[in-house]
Amino acid sequence: MTSTTVPAAPPAFTAFSPDNWRLALIAGIVISAVAIAALPSGVAFWITGIMMALVAIAATMNAVRRRYYGGLLVAPAIAVLFVMNIFPLLWSLGLSFFAYQSNQQTIRFVGLNNYIKVLTNDLAAKDNWAALTNTAMFVVFTVAAQMVIGFLLALLFSKQFPLRKYLLILVLTPMMLSVVAAGVFFTYYYDPTFGILSYIMREMTGEQFILMDNKAGAVAGIVFADAWMWSPFVMLLVLAGLVSVPKYLYEAAAIDRVSGWRQFRTITFPYIRGLLMLALLFRTIEAFKIADLVILLTKGGNDTMTISYHLIRIANEQNKTSEGAAISYLMLFMVIVLTNLYLYLANRRTQGN
């Protein structure tokens, strides 16, 4: 990279210039602190907001003058994420160390007691562990099913053939359904009296068929609905990788009479690995949060309670805000370990080849 002019030197700390972000930051913190202490919360909120904007402007000026493009480009995204996600997350992390219920005014510092309670308290811990093992089971089943079905569908659509475009959109449609409607309609399909599934089974075996009356059936019903909805997501990402493989590689392989499996392993797989990884990552994260289908299909009955649904009950229905926060941070810890493992394995593979 070449640059025609040398970036300007950093401003002196005391200089009153528009790009002196350090001075702006300190002034902002002092003024906001005074405002929060002395003024009503509504006014203080807006003063703090204005101060944050001032610091942001100073930092932007600084970045422009010093050609600090990376920071400049990333800043808006970080700002939105900070306000809407990271700040609320830190807030609830803080709440997890207090005894707080959203329907009461009192708040009391309890240290790690919430964490100890959800991990060791006889009653609560038992529910939590049951919900956690169920969630792990759903993650394994749904993600495995989605990867396999999505992959097979992608293989099917990887060739050019007449009407491909119109058939592809049919397979993509389940992903576009609202979960509320899809979930409610699956209760209808599975319904013992009116449902199409029970009707077919009744005609075939002559006996009453109830899918959701035991754990295996309930899990199968939920996994089927979830896999059906989200396999197209995996399919689309894998398909994108498959169509990007240069054709000449296959032609060369055909001349050398390379076996089908080896062709797949050495030619196809390297092209889809990145996208497969992205699909796996996002589907695992989403599967960990599975709640809506469980709520709609079983309401947690037949031992299908998941950790995310359990959390909704604790935090929303029982108003145990801080206990819910503690559970969710333990859950976040597990998801972070899992995704880091994924990313580590993915990177090692890439470097290994």
Binding site: L81, M175, S244
Partner: protein
């Protein structure tokens, strides 16, 4: 190799070599698989045009036509458009006069909120992805991972602080609040997806342009962006589908004026204590499906070509 055309291939079945174009025989196989996959959606659409009295009949009615006598009469129903009009106007009390349900407003809200927030996330996220890809910061991977973690926690954990924050800022029940929240909600996926596209582009062209004296802004708009147009389309479609159908945030944060269709759908179907109104739910869902279906259909070519572009190896 000797080219011997078997009867199998003459019928349109090609050997699975991954090369070239398959024929109509292959189309038939894919059509059968696709149709089976589509059946649950088809049943929702058919439910939307069923008369209410046969909605839950046993055996289930399966088709609006007998397909020239192919399907026995017991499984055929006569289609009606009544359910669609009752989405927008129906009597709320038994025997009462038809009232406006406000669904036109909810559809408008859904369209505005989803479009604006996905576009906003796309602009901000693409800039950030370009930054992460071309000008790595100190601890670049850590930033990316923190961004990913914002997608890991269930919405319920973020929601209580967000509700309190919105209340203080006077944003509860406003368009700005929910749009900003959805923008943040879409950013993680947008950044990760667009970064993987930028990462795969060849750097040679960009460097050549820089040596010729192009500014960084020109390099981004004239060289990089045109190459990832299709990636933008793919990200837009995924983001739109997720935002369009989002339920929990919308339920807890949208006011009566900014209510989106999934929330209204849930209320319309479960209110009244008469159990689920199947034909009404199906009609709402069918109408609600049309916009995303059309967007996906028209962006489909970009979707496949785009991601293709992204994965061309350096």
């Amino acid at each position: 190799m000797v080219d011997k055309v078997s009867i199998w291939e003459a019928l349109g079945f090609r050997k699975a070599s991954g090369v070239g174009e398959a024929g109509w025989g292959y189309t038939l196989i894919v059509a059968i698989v696709s149709f089976i996959y589509f059946i649950p959606v088809l049943m929702i659409i058919f439910m939307a045009i069923k008369p209410q009295d046969v909605a839950l009949s046993v055996p289930p009615t399966l088709s609006p036509t007998s397909l020239f006598g192919l399907i026995p009469d017991a499984y055929v129903f006569s289609p009606t458009l009544e359910n669609f009009t009752s989405v927008f106007s129906r009597s709320m009390t038994a025997g009462g006069a038809p009232e406006d349900t406000g669904f036109d407003r909810y559809f408008f809200n859904s369209i505005v909120i989803a479009t604006v927030s996905v576009m906003l996330a796309l602009v901000i996220g693409t800039l950030a992805a370009f930054g992460f890809s071309r000008y790595p910061l100190k601890g670049n991977d850590t930033y990316l991972f923190i961004i990913l973690t914002t997608r890991m926690l269930p919405a319920i954990v973020v929601i209580i602080p967000v509700i309190l924050m919105f209340r203080v800022a006077g944003l509860s029940g406003s368009y700005i609040g929910i749009i900003l929240l959805y923008t943040a909600f879409n950013l993680a996926f947008t950044i990760w997806m667009m970064k993987s596209f930028f990462d795969e582009l060849s750097l040679d062209v960009e460097d050549a342009a820089r040596i010729d004296g192009s500014s960084e802004i020109k390099v981004f708009f004239k060289i990089c962006l045109p190459q990832v147009v299709a990636g933008l389309a793919a990200t837009f479609v995924f983001g739109l589908i997720l935002t369009w159908n989002e339920f929990l945030f919308a339920l807890l944060l949208s006011g009566t004026d900014t209510r989106t269709v999934p929330v209204a759908m849930n209320q319309a179907v479960s209110s009244g204590g008469r159990g689920t109104d199947w034909t009404l739910l199906a009609a709402i869902e069918t109408l609600f499906l049309i916009p995303v279906f059309l967007v996906t259909f028209f962006l489909q070519n970009h979707l496949l070509r785009g991601v293709t572009f992204g994965t061309v190896k350096r």
